[in-house]
């Protein structure tokens, strides 16, 4: 039985369709990444899966429980960390832990044990009496995670957990996620950082409420199987983009830092004398290599195609 089983899930707000006929399954212990631009419908999907928002139609089973039928049952089985920082800033570390333990009705013995666990996980031992407001972003994030899993939920929803956190803290945070998944916790995580998405077992890409791609990272990159990407470094990137766009074999170009990525329509990059033509156009080519598609390429490509439809 999958941990999360979503079939034709739809949610409308008035006429606006925020989530449109979405179906997917997440297996136990899997890290499932949810990608999509702002407003794509990621949070709305998560809120339905947590029993917070009623689906307009479709079904969702979370831990085998139907979210439309037994929202409270779902809530007992899941942990959730919202997109916004959601601890009480004026309370101390310890008071926050105690409050959330109270919300989940933990017994005193269990509380003592889980409190130790949360403090250790967040690296906050010895700082129990610090006011949460004074903690740095990374600490807060780990404390929020600790508070979200005090009741040891088998399924965890993390909505943009690493927003506004420095790269080192993000790495620490992901180490915790890997660890939890290793213990069998199913994790559905949304993120705007594509390097984080690479760490997910499978990813789903959402656009305008619809699921436009799903699979392992390697699988979704298959959209570029017949379309090699060449990375060109030249003295004048903008002029190079114009020259490349003018070539019939080039599907599209985009700027990646100081380099230009060109997607070719032919399966073999060697068939197209790109460098020669650029030199003929008077540009100085510093390097030209075929690169594997990044998740960012995939993401942008899928959104472009979905938008064109």
């Amino acid at each position: 039985m999958p941990a999360i089983d979503v079939q034709h899930l739809t949610r409308r707000f008035g006429k606006f369709v925020a989530v449109d006929d979405v179906s997917f399954r997440v297996g136990e212990g899997e890290i499932f990444g949810f990608l999509g631009a702002n407003g794509a419908g990621k949070s709305t999907t998560i809120r339905m899966l947590c029993g917070l928002l009623r689906p307009t139609s479709g079904t969702a089973l979370v831990g085998g429980v139907d979210v439309s039928r037994d929202a409270e049952g779902v809530k007992r089985r899941i942990g959730y960390m919202s997109q916004r920082f959601s601890l009480y800033e004026s309370l101390t570390v310890e008071e926050n832990i105690r409050f959330f333990a109270g919300l989940y009705g933990l017994s005193e013995e269990r509380y003592a044990e889980r409190r130790r666990f949360a403090l250790e996980m967040a690296g906050l031992e010895g700082r129990e009496t610090m006011i949460t407001r004074q903690l740095s972003g990374g600490w807060r994030q780990r404390l929020a995670l600790g508070c979200a899993i005090l009741h040891e939920p088998p399924i965890l929803f993390l909505d943009e957990p690493t927003g506004g956190v420095d790269p080192i803290s993000r790495r620490q945070f992901w180490r915790l996620i890997d660890q939890l998944a290793g213990e069998g916790v199913t994790i559905l995580v949304t993120t705007h950082y594509l390097d984080e998405a690479e760490r997910c077992g499978r990813v789903a890409i959402m656009h305008a409420g619809r699921l436009i791609g799903i699979g392992t990272v390697a699988e979704v990159k298959q959209v570029f199987a017949d379309r090699p990407i060449v990375e060109v470094r030249v003295d004048q990137p903008v002029a190079a983009m114009q020259a490349l766009d003018a070539m019939p074999e080039v599907e599209k170009t985009s700027l990646f830092g100081t380099a230009v990525h060109a997607v070719l329509k032919t399966p073999r990059a060697a068939d197209v004398p790109v460098a020669d033509r650029l030199r003929a156009a008077g540009l100085q080519v510093q390097s030209l290599v075929t690169v594997p598609p990044s998740l960012e390429d995939v993401f942008l490509d899928m959104i472009e195609k979905a938008g064109a439809r």
């Binding site: 917070l52 899941i78 959730y80 959601s86 309370l91 409050f99 009705g105």
Partner: protein
């Protein structure tokens, strides 16, 4: 229930840490009381008075001595003509003047309802109106309904304002119950509404909604601290009023606490209702002001007597819970009324509390469904 206690404990910790809220809940009420109480108490005593007795009969002298002996006026000058009064007032030597026309005594004896004139410096509209009230009452006590006061108030007090305030005598004692109602509204409605909406703004509400916690447990947990604090604040006001303004506490404390509690349930319900509608603290504050605070101030009989309001407003006052609270509170504190005699106002407060709590709970549960 354990979860409700977890919420209440968290809320109390937050309040304890939030010095501004704590201050607002406990000390602002007492501070307001002292401020209003004293302003009303002292400013209108020892009003300097000039007297022009053009009649000089036994009757006119009786009126003058009634004014002087009332304790409200300090006899300052005896004058001959209108011009003198004007110059005394311009120099702020007197605030009021009593003019008794010739023939006053004769007309009174003939039962012709004679007129005396009271001229009041209208600088401070509140004082002026209070003085009008005193004068009317004193004249009433001198000779029944036969003497009427034609009080002329120097600008800037207009005729209209006079009608608004009416000339009812209201003492600080009478105002204390009003203040208690008004302060309960501020603390209970505003603080409850703000504390819940703040959780919406901060995103902690969403986290709470993701937890297996029924709406009832949240609401109860959230209300307990504000109920206790408001009740403590109210009792503090009563004690301060007893110490500073000689407020008599003629009824039983149990009855007082019961009546205040009934009123607070309604107030907490109102705050809760506001929090289900407002998304930001600013909107919540404005709504509380409009829904709770202004009606309590204007339509409860606290400042303006209900009997002198236009018909439409009088009808509206029936849905203002403070109206009933004032009746019950004045009854218990000033008259020592027994609970049994306060069935109507208490029933009205219960009905209000049930309706508003029900409405808020339904909205709240729906938002959490």
């Amino acid at each position: 229930m354990r979860k409700a206690i977890a919420v209440a404990r968290k809320e109390l910790r937050q309040i304890a840490r939030d010095k501004v809220t704590l201050f607002m809940l406990l000390f602002i009420p007492a501070f307001l009381l002292v401020l209003y109480g004293y302003a009303l108490n002292f400013d209108v005593r020892h009003v300097t008075l000039a007297v022009q007795d053009r009649d000089a009969t036994a009757e006119s002298r009786a009126v003058v001595s009634a004014f002087v002996n009332s304790g409200y006026f300090d006899f300052t000058a005896r004058v001959g003509g209108e011009g003198e009064i004007e110059s005394l007032m311009d120099r702020n030597a007197v605030r009021a003047a009593l003019v008794i026309p010739e023939g006053f005594g004769r007309r009174l004896r003939q039962a012709h309802s004679p007129t005396v004139q009271v001229i009041i410096d209208g600088d401070n509209a509140n004082i002026a109106n209070t003085v009008v009230g005193y004068a009317t009452r004193i004249l009433g006590s001198v000779s029944g309904p036969t003497v009427s006061a034609a009080s002329t108030v120097a600008p800037p007090l207009s005729l209209e304002t006079r009608i608004w305030y009416n000339s009812e005598l209201r003492s600080a004692l009478f105002l204390v119950p009003g203040l208690i109602a008004y302060i309960a509204m501020i603390t209970a409605v505003v603080s409850t509404a703000l504390s819940i909406v703040r959780e919406k703004e901060n995103g902690t509400m969403e986290q709470i909604r993701m937890a297996p916690l029924g709406p009832a447990a949240y609401v109860v947990g959230k209300s307990i601290p504000y109920f206790l604090l408001s009740l403590a604040g109210e009792l503090l006001i009563v004690l301060v009023s007893m110490a500073l303004f000689d407020l008599p506490m003629r009824g039983s404390w149990g009855a007082l606490i019961l009546v205040i509690s009934l009123f607070l349930f309604g107030a907490l319900g109102t705050g809760l209702f506001v929090s289900t509608v407002a998304e930001t603290q600013q909107v919540a504050f404005q709504m509380s002001l409009l829904l709770a605070y202004l009606p309590t101030l204007m339509l409860s009989g606290f400042i303006f007597p209900i009997s002198s309001m236009p018909q439409v407003l009088q009808i509206i006052t029936y849905v203002v819970p403070a109206r009933y609270f004032l009746v019950a509170l004045r009854g218990i504190v000033l008259k020592g009324s027994a609970l049994a005699t306060l069935g109507v106002p208490m029933g009205a407060m219960v009905i209000y509390a049930v309706i508003v709590l029900g409405l808020a709970s339904v909205r709240f549960a729906r938002q959490h469904g």
